[in-house]
Symmetry: C2
Subunit: 405 residues, 2 copies
């Protein structure tokens, strides 16, 4: 197949491009490199030394003889070029990773909120419109997030996108299947809820074939392909904006800091290893919906954990201690999260668990690159509201947040 | 109160500005005049001769001694100026009409789809972000549409925004109240579904006080205030993009053309008179939610009719005939629509009905300005999909659509 990987320079996109290239597909990476620019804006960098996308593509070719074609294109701003590119290349499938993906970054300031909404909505909508306009019959696979469900469940396991409900009508109770009611907890997550509605409309009105993957937090760094050469290494974000909770624990452990848990650590989150992410995308590509079908939604996660249990797990492996800090997010202090992922399991996904894979991350990534850590960048500092911002401040030693009082 | 009317140069915004000004409020109109530019793009004009916004404000002052302040500002593109304006003026209430509002225009081409999404999402989101950033405590009243509900009802009357459902959980059936599941039928309507999610988030995260009015199709031209002087007249759109079904029937009748009904005319729509629109906004402004409340949603409509019954009503008043044409929209050929509007009725709304007000429109507007009608502009020509576009074409005499073949 000819496959376009939008956002193929990113943390999930790059290993996906390699994985699908290795399987013999013709891969085109489209990216505006905005994520690299954000590194510059924030004054942070990947823990793993990351080469330019052009250099990475060159190394892949050198190692495997396979080509990756890179196209510098802003999906949100270059609608005309996007449409032209699709009309000329007519890919069979499109995997869409190209969005601003950090919740804390999306809450940093009004400018960051506006950027996140404009970038993500326009990228997704431009793509959908261009697909209709060019009349290509590509299968679109989009990366959504578990966060669209919100983290306060209705008490039942979260189904894969659609919820069965009963409604009272004059003719008695009626069964209805609806999109799971969305309750996003940040501007970033909100954009994924908006995406859902865009997909619903374009599948229904134009018969676009769309799969939406509601993904958990991705952990792990290496995949089979990125291990092949040091310059193929994946990015590893550990800063307070882009570093997910697990990555920040690993880094804190590596530099001998206490692991900073926000609030009670009772927040439950869903996780998946990067190797399983690329496998899931392969599986989803193999199961395209038919034209006229509703959007196919998979929950792309393999296990759930409470944040404080994660901290204990990392502490157990590394000897680190755990520190409880005020929470900069507006969220319930504790939540349950039971998620169905039957579809990927039925397709043969065999998950890598945190219990099995975490030590590897400690040794092969966190300790190995510990000399590159900028400790002042580890704490999360974006507050969700002005009220919260007034109540917390960054510890001067850069170890995390503390309450103002 | 100091009230900002965003989109105050438009069909609903202008009479609202006058109505609230007459009640003694301090009115600021913000508009980028894009609607006038779209008239230019389409080569159409309001049936009623419409003066510049500056001239209209001057006449209002001359007639009443009251001031209207006009600010040329693009909500979608001038975020910084918007924020600054809010920080300086600190309005008590904001009425937000400023979106691209025609479904056929939103479906005209890829460029129009992209414009509609970018304009409407950015306008609404910029406003919300700016309200949070400036910390003003204004009540935001937004104009949504009945179309967010979609037109295939679940069999029960459409409630005011929120639906009670029952969900199976391991502990038995649970009651839950959710946002009515959205099924927009055009890109325009889709943007109003996106708005809903933006409102939900900002009410929940930042405690913004928001009222969303799900409005039916507005008919009628004059209000008490616009009648005061010929130069205060409201706009009247009758072209295939912006003219709503009733306006186009009135114009077809005035020029002796058959009334063009799409499909079977079995589509049921909700309606409200412009005088009731301005009254509803007054009522909504008087009932602000408290900070922390969920978004307050009203259904702002007073009656429903099938399109073919509307055609018969206009035919009965004017002697026109009715012609059935192919439908350029992708929609169910027939639908029921039963809508609750108890909240506005309880607040004292006393609706003007089509039965009572329609003759007035025929005589005072359609016949009076018939000499200004450009008949080639009456037919609706935007097709919802490429398939449909291939099956219909515009009748060469400009009387409507006909099937190809
Ligand atoms: N990483 C996770 O834990 C995680 C979890 C759930 C969902 N996701 C989703 O998966 C996708 C990929 O995430 P990631 O971690 O790889 O993020 P990332 O930031 O590393 O990669 C995103 C890539 O998209 C590019 N991009 C952004 N906007 C663009 C635009 N307008 N035009 C062209 N390119 C653009 C960026 O330059 C970047 O290379 C995102 O949509 C994200 O929301 C990620
Ligand atoms: N007219 C109806 O029948 C009807 C029915 C239901 C809902 N509504 C809603 O009511 C609102 C007003 O409708 P209307 O009929 O008065 O439409 P309109 O097009 O006559 O008025 C909208 C006004 O907003 C302005 N505007 C648009 N984008 C802007 C931007 N980015 N910045 C500043 N100004 C901008 C336009 O110039 C115009 O003056 C719309 O949101 C519409 O969706 C209207």
């Amino acid at each position: 197949m000819k496959i376009a990987i939008l956002g193929g320079d990113g943390f999930c996109g790059w290993p996906t491009a390699l994985h699908l290239s290795e399987q013999g597909h013709e891969i085109h990476i489209i990216d505006n490199l905005s994520r690299r620019w954000i590194d510059t804006e924030l004054g942070v960098q990947s823990l793993t030394p990351m080469d330019s996308i052009q250099e990475r593509c060159r190394i892949w070719h050198q190692e495997t003889g396979r080509s990756l074609r890179f196209h510098l294109l802003d999906l949100a701003k270059d609608y005309e070029r996007l449409r032209q590119w699709l009309a000329e290349e007519r890919p069979d499938a499109i995997v869409h990773f190209a969005e601003q993906r950090a919740a804390p970054y999306s809450m940093k300031s009004d400018r960051h909120k506006v950027y996140t909404v404009n970038n993500n909505v326009s990228a997704t909508h431009n793509l959908l419109t261009a697909m209709v306009e060019t009349g290509i019959d590509a299968h679109l696979v989009h990366l959504g997030t578990m966060g669209v469900y919100g983290y306060s469940s209705v008490g039942a396991p979260i189904p894969e996108g659609y919820l069965d409900v009963k409604i009272d009508t004059p003719e008695g109770e009626k069964d209805q299947e609806i999109l799971y009611p969305t309750r996003p907890g940040s501007v970033y997550h909100m954009t994924k809820s908006l995406d859902q509605i865009l997909f619903q409309f374009y599948a229904q009105n134009d018969g676009l074939r769309i799969t939406d993957l509601h993904q958990g937090i991705v952990w792990g760094t290496h995949t089979e392909q990125t291990r092949r050469h040091p310059q193929l290494v994946n990015r590893f974000d550990y800063d307070g904006d882009y570093g997910t909770v697990l990555n920040r624990f690993l880094i804190q452990a590596a530099i001998g800091y206490p692991l900073t848990v926000h609030g009670t650590g009772g927040q439950t989150r869903a996780f998946i290893h990067i190797q399983d992410t690329v496998r899931c995308i392969e599986l989803a590509l193999g199961e395209p919906p038919a034209a006229g079908d509703r959007v196919r939604i998979f929950n792309q996660m393999t296990e759930t954990h409470r944040v404080r249990d994660l901290a204990e797990m990392v502490a157990g492996l590394t000897g680190a201690t755990v520190a409880y800090l005020p929470n900069p997010r507006k969220e319930a202090p504790e939540n349950d999260l039971i998620v169905r992922n039957d579809q990927f399991l039925a397709l043969g996904l065999d998950p890598i668990t945190l219990r099995d894979g975490l030590l590897n991350e400690v040794v092969e990534v966190a300790r190995k690159f510990a000399h590159r850590i900028d400790r002042s960048r580890v704490p999360a500092v974006s507050a969700w509201t002005k009220d919260i911002a007034g109540r917390v401040e960054t510890d001067p030693e850069g170890r995390g947040l503390k309450s103002v009082s």
